[in-house]
């Protein structure tokens, strides 16, 4: 191996270093985890032409081609021009100059999403359609952000392991006259959700709306069509989730029952917030660390800047993080080593 390789630069172009010297793995973005199947032919072509014939399903739902030799990277970058243009510019409306140099940045990680309501009987929204609207807000950018999107509070899209989780919720209407009092919604809510439904004395259903997850299980099981989702879509936004060696933790609810406009407003403010926290020098850190550095109050102020909250939305007053400490008191360190947020001297 006698090559002079700028690994950091390659990484920014969505190429991952291999333990095999001189080999790299391409990661193709699949925003919202859904693309036309025809693109898979390109993946097959890359793998068979420049890779080692293998394909890996990326852990962030990217299409990964391992075993590409360093010298073939320019050829692959040129080849994926059409893919990037069709998926990013055409499908998602990202305004990006078309080039033969591959991805311009890896900052905003691929937006993962479950299959959503185009298929799933439990999902409350079309995850991919919203992912396509989010993609131009965060990409291309050197500031990092990880987003996981799920159609329902089951969170198969692992939003709670991401900087942001966008979890589909429905506001439910109860059509009193259609209810036959069979109690199946009450059972389903108890079994799958928070048990906010109860039978009344006269065999109808009462709801303790405080803790409704908006999962829609009641509508799924109702044989009479007595539970219906309001047409407007709502989302639970979770923040600060992450995996990692130090302090993995599940994300916590930031806003419950936000509208799409609020989701887009919040995510649109992320770059500004990141840039401020990091003194305008993008480095790779999980979003949760940035929130910790700035403090939740500062995060809340900056991320909601200009965002008009819908009346149904409820915002976390504070966040009770629950980290898995891999080592006791890993956060108790000399004060001089504390990360500092905001512009530095």
């Amino acid at each position: 191996m006698n090559c002079d390789i700028n690994i950091k630069q390659l990484q920014k172009n969505c190429w991952r270093q291999s333990k095999v010297p001189g080999e790299f793995m391409l990661q193709l973005r699949v925003p919202g985890s859904l693309i036309e199947a025809k693109h898979l032919e390109r993946v097959v072509y890359i793998a068979n032409t420049w890779g080692n014939g293998l394909f890996h399903v990326g852990m962030r739902h990217t299409l990964n081609v391992p075993g590409v030799k360093y010298e073939n990277i320019p050829a692959v970058n040129a080849y994926i021009k059409d893919y990037i243009s069709q998926v990013e510019n055409e499908m998602c409306g990202v305004e990006m100059e078309e080039s033969e140099n591959g991805y311009p940045t890896i900052g905003a990680r691929n937006i993962m999403a479950c299959i959503g309501n185009r298929h799933c009987i439990l999902a409350n929204y079309n995850t991919q359609e919203l992912a396509k609207k989010i993609e131009p807000l965060i990409f291309p950018s050197h500031y990092h952000i990880k987003i996981g999107m799920s159609g329902c509070p089951n969170d198969c899209g692992k939003g709670q392991c991401n900087d942001f989780g966008i979890i589909g919720q429905a506001k439910m209407d109860y059509v009193y006259d259609r209810c036959i009092g069979c109690g199946q919604c009450v059972e389903a809510c108890k079994k799958h959700a928070t048990g906010v439904l109860a039978m009344t004395e006269d065999k109808k259903v009462a709801k303790d709306a405080c803790c409704c997850l908006g999962c829609g299980e009641c509508a799924v099981v109702c044989p009479a069509g007595a539970w219906v989702r309001q047409p407007k879509k709502f989302f639970r936004i979770t923040i600060g989730g992450r995996t990692g060696k130090h302090t993995p933790r599940l994300g916590k609810t930031f806003i419950n029952f936000a509208t799409e406009e609020v989701v887009l407003g919040v995510l649109g403010n992320w770059q500004k917030f990141s840039a401020w926290v990091l003194d305008y020098k993008p480095v790779y850190m999980h979003g949760g660390h940035l929130i910790d550095m700035a403090g939740y109050e500062k995060f809340k102020e900056m991320i909601l800047d200009g965002v008009e909250l819908n009346p149904e939305a409820k915002v976390a007053q504070r966040i009770m993080w629950a980290e898995s400490e891999m080592r006791g008191q890993i956060n108790v360190i000399p004060i001089g080593e504390h990360p500092v947020a905001g512009p530095q001297q």
Binding site: I180, Q184, D202, A224
Partner: protein, 344 residues
């Protein structure tokens, strides 16, 4: 008499009818389906032709117009029951031939069975007129032809819907004056002659065979497949079961109403007596009970037709894809087995 009305003219007709009739038709409730971003089509009052869903089978049947899911029958105080009020206007229902035939079964149970005439049903039924929606194609869950329910006679008017116009054929003289001045048109009402599939109706020879069929292993698979939700029967156009419940008004605990609420033999507890003892305790028991009612018991009681018009709403609404026609065919196959066993 035949007429041709464009949609604007039809809407004007509906306006004229409104003085005397409430018009009910299959109507779209956008995004109110079981799953996100799916619609539900069910019967409701309409005022324009555009509100009528022509190209889709309604998820729930027209029975809901005459017997609402929740229907107050009495208002009570501590010492008096007062009957709930009757509808004031007449009722015009847009529905397909199978649905009209389904009302024969509703009529039989509510007006005749046991010599008791249910006054709540009767007061609605007397006021009801049918507008037959021509149906020549059906859908993949339909088997009306197998049940002999693809044609209907009892209607006041029939309609054919096209992009441009609605053709009317008016039989009922009560409706004729409303068409004064409308453009006459000659057209022939068609009925569907063949569904996408046919079912084999089981013939159960005697009580002994019936008992064997009840014990046949064919029902067991439904213990795994059926969740006893009752979607099939609630959507069914011929099912009539209800339960009676009392409601106390929260503002005045001494007053309230007694109401009927649709019920389903598929839901656990349907047969449970005070104290909890029930007779059909598994999904298989309940499916067997429903299936035999539809294609044996009812006919055994009344002698003429089976209690199924092949509208297929049961299969269409089943969240677990249990096909009722498949059950019927399995019953026929099981009977062949039983017959073969007996002749050994």
């Amino acid at each position: 008499m035949g007429y041709s009305l464009n949609h604007r003219e039809t809407n004007a007709l509906f306006d004229r009818l409104a003085a005397e009739y409430k018009i009910y038709a299959p109507k779209r409730f956008a995004k109110q389906g079981r799953y996100s971003d799916t619609d539900i089509v069910r019967y409701d009052e309409i005022h324009t032709a555009e509100e009528i869903v022509w190209d889709q089978k309604s998820d729930f049947s027209a029975k809901e117009v005459l017997t609402p899911v929740t229907e107050p029958i009495f208002y009570f105080t501590e010492d008096e029951y007062r009957e709930s009020g009757a509808p004031k206007k007449k009722i015009l229902i847009f529905l397909r031939p199978c649905d009209i035939n389904a009302f024969e079964h509703q009529d039989r149970i509510y007006l005749q069975n046991g010599g008791f005439c249910d006054s709540y049903y009767q007061r609605m039924r007397e006021k009801t007129r049918f507008v037959l929606m021509e149906c020549t194609e059906g859908w993949d869950t339909c088997f009306c032809c197998s049940m002999g329910a693809n044609k209907a006679e009892e209607y006041s008017a029939a309609v054919r819907h096209t992009e441009e116009e609605i053709l009317w054929s008016v039989k009922d003289e009560e409706l004729t004056p409303y068409f004064a001045g409308c453009q006459e048109a000659d057209w022939q009402l068609q009925f569907i002659e063949k569904n996408q599939f046919a079912v084999k109706i089981p013939e159960i020879a005697d009580k002994e065979t019936l008992a064997k069929l009840k014990k046949h292993p064919m029902w067991q698979e439904y213990n795994d497949r059926c969740v006893s939700c009752g979607s099939c029967t609630l959507a069914c156009s011929t099912c009539t079961c209800f339960t009676t419940r009392d409601k106390i008004y929260s503002e005045n605990a001494k007053a309230g109403e007694r109401r009927r609420v649709h019920d389903s033999c598929q839901i656990a507890g349907f047969d449970a007596m005070a104290g909890g003892h029930g007779f059909r305790t598994t999904p298989a028991d309940r499916i067997r009970y429903r299936a035999l009612h539809k294609v044996h018991d009812y006919k055994a009681r009344f002698g003429d037709y089976h209690m199924c018009v092949g509208c297929g709403r049961c299969s269409a609404r089943c969240p677990k894809f249990i096909s009722f026609p498949a059950i019927i065919n399995k019953m026929s196959a099981a009977l062949e087995e039983i017959a073969a066993e007996a002749s050994k």
